[in-house]
C-alpha cells in the first residue's frame, strides 16, 4: 500500500467499512510507516477535540415553527384529489364502463346478500367485513373517547359496543392472518390493547383517562389506520 492510497481509506477505516483483508493491510502499513501513523494520530486528536466541544443544541419553539411552515404551504389538498388536467376521451368512455360495472356488482351484492349483513361501517353493525369499514367504525369511538370529559362519563362507552368491536377485531385478525397481512396484524394488536384499556378503565380517576389518551397518541392508531387505508386504496376500491 502506498501512502497516497492511505488518504482514501482512513475514513472508511474509522467507519469500520473496510473488509478484513483491507483492514489488515491498512494496519500493517500503519505499523511500517511512521508518517502515516502520525497523521492518523493527528486526525484522531482533532476528532477527539471536536467530540469534546459537542454540546446539546438549545431548545426551539417547534410548534411555532410548524405553524409558520403550515401557513406558508398551499392549502391542504384532499389525499385523492382528482387531477386538474382535462382527461382524454377514451378515459371518459373507460370510466363509464367501469362505473356501469361497479354499479352492477353493487346491485348484485345488495340483492344477493343475506339479511342483516349490510356493510354499514358502524360500531353497532353485527360484523364489519373489511378493515376499512372497521376503521371507519372505530374512529368515532376513539374521537369520542378523546373528547369526552376527563371523568365520570361512563355512559358514552357502553360495554356492548366495545365488546362488538373487540369480537369484530378477532374475526378481522383471522382474515389478516390468512392473508399474511403483517402490518394489519400489528395494527390490530395495538387497537386491541387500546380497546381493552378503555373497556377496563376506572373512570373515577381522571388520570386513568389521560393515560389511555396518551397510549392512543403514542401508538399513533389514527395515523396508522389512515396509512393502512392509503396503502390498500386500490384493493379496497375495486
Amino acid at each position: 500500500m502506498k501512502c497516497k492510497e492511505w488518504t482514501d481509506l482512513v475514513f472508511d477505516y474509522q467507519d469500520g467499512r473496510l473488509a478484513e483483508a483491507e483492514k489488515a493491510e491498512f494496519e500493517h502499513h500503519l505499523r511500517a510507516c511512521p508518517a502515516c501513523s502520525a497523521r492518523l494520530g493527528e486526525i484522531s486528536e482533532i476528532d477527539g477535540l471536536l467530540q469534546k466541544t459537542v454540546t446539546p443544541a438549545p431548545g426551539a419553539d417547534f410548534t411555532a415553527s410548524w405553524q409558520k411552515i403550515a401557513a406558508a404551504l398551499a392549502p391542504d389538498r384532499r389525499v385523492y384529489a382528482p387531477r386538474s388536467r382535462r382527461a382524454p376521451r377514451w378515459a371518459f368512455l373507460a370510466a363509464g364502463f367501469l362505473a356501469f360495472f361497479i354499479l352492477g356488482v353493487g346491485f348484485a351484492r345488495l340483492y344477493f346478500s343475506p339479511a342483516g349483513t349490510e356493510n354499514t361501517a358502524s360500531a353497532d353493525a353485527p360484523f364489519l367485513y373489511s378493515a376499512r369499514d372497521y376503521f371507519a367504525a372505530l374512529q368515532p369511538v376513539l374521537s369520542e373517547f378523546s373528547n369526552a370529559p376527563a371523568a365520570g362519563d361512563g355512559a358514552a362507552f357502553d360495554s356492548a359496543r366495545l365488546r362488538r368491536l373487540l369480537n369484530n377485531l378477532q374475526l378481522l385478525r383471522l382474515r389478516a392472518d390468512r392473508n399474511r397481512d403483517a402490518s394489519l396484524l400489528a395494527l390490530l394488536d395495538d387497537i386491541e390493547l387500546v380497546l381493552l384499556e378503555i373497556a377496563h378503565l376506572d373512570r373515577s380517576n381522571p388520570e386513568n383517562t389521560r393515560l389511555v389518551n396518551t397510549l392512543i397518541q403514542e401508538k399513533g392508531i389514527t395515523m396508522k389506520m389512515k396509512v393502512y387505508k392509503f396503502r390498500n386504496r386500490k384493493a379496497v376500491s375495486i
Binding site: T7, D8, V10, F11, D12, D15, R17, E42, I43, E45, I46, D47, G48, L49, L50, Q51, K52, T53, V54, T55, P56, A57, P58, A60, D61, F62, S65, W66, K68, I69, A70, A72, L73, A74, D76, R77, R78, V79, Y80, A81, S183, G220, M223, K224, K226, V227, F230, R231
Partner: protein, 193 residues
C-alpha cells in the same frame, strides 16, 4: 443513520398526496436533527429556526414533484435541502454583515456558554478548547465547515455525506481531510491533552 421505517414510507406517500397530518408527522420525526444541523452550521438558534422553517417549506412544496421511490431517501433528500438552505442563509447573511465568520464564532460561544454558567476548573478548560475549536471552524470555507458538521456533529458516514452534499465520496474525503489539516494548524498542539 438516515434510514426510516416502513410507516414513514407511507407518510411520505401521504405527504406527497398533500396530506397535512402526514407532513406534520414527518416534521415531528425529523425536526430535531434538522435544527441541530442548522444550529451547528449557523451558530445561533434564531438563524437555525429560520433555516429549519425554510427547509421544510421547500421540502413540502416540492415533495409532490420530486421522484422519491424509496422511503430511506426522504431523510437524505431533506438533509440536502437543509444543507442548501444553510449555505444560502449564511451567504445572504454574509452579504449583510462583513464579519460573518467572526460573528458565527462569537454567537456559538455565547450560546454554548450559557448552557453551563457555573464552571469548575475542568469545565473552564473545556470551554477554552471549545472556543479554540469554534474559532478554527469559523475559518473554514462554507463547504468544508458543512462536511465537518455533518461528519462530527451529525455522525453521518462518508457515503451519506456524499449523498447529502451531492458530490462523490472521494470529494468528501478530500474536503474532510483538508478541513482537518487546516483545523490542526489553527489549533495549538496538545490542546486536547
Amino acid at each position: 443513520m438516515l434510514q426510516m421505517n416502513g410507516y414513514e414510507a407511507d407518510w411520505v406517500a401521504l405527504a406527497k398526496a398533500g396530506d397535512r397530518s402526514a407532513m406534520r408527522e414527518l416534521y415531528e420525526r425529523t425536526r430535531s436533527r434538522i435544527f441541530s444541523l442548522a444550529y451547528r452550521y449557523a451558530g445561533n438558534a434564531a438563524d437555525a429556526e429560520d433555516i429549519l422553517q425554510d427547509s421544510f417549506i421547500k421540502a413540502f412544496s416540492s415533495l409532490r414533484k420530486c421522484q422519491l421511490n424509496e422511503n430511506s431517501y426522504f431523510a437524505t433528500w431533506l438533509y440536502r435541502i437543509a444543507v442548501n438552505c444553510s449555505l444560502d442563509h449564511i451567504r445572504r447573511r454574509r452579504t449583510r454583515e462583513s464579519h460573518a465568520n467572526a460573528e458565527w464564532s462569537t454567537r456559538l460561544s455565547a450560546d454554548t456558554e450559557n448552557e453551563g454558567s457555573a464552571t469548575p476548573e475542568g469545565e473552564y478548560l473545556r470551554g477554552e478548547i471549545r472556543q479554540q475549536v469554534q474559532r478554527g471552524l469559523a475559518k473554514l470555507s462554507s463547504r468544508k465547515r458543512m462536511v465537518v458538521v455533518l461528519r462530527h456533529y451529525q455522525q453521518l458516514k462518508i457515503g451519506e455525506i456524499a449523498a447529502v452534499m451531492g458530490c462523490s465520496q472521494g470529494s468528501v474525503k478530500r474536503q474532510l481531510f483538508r478541513a482537518l489539516a487546516q483545523l490542526k494548524k489553527e489549533l495549538p498542539v496538545g490542546l486536547g491533552e
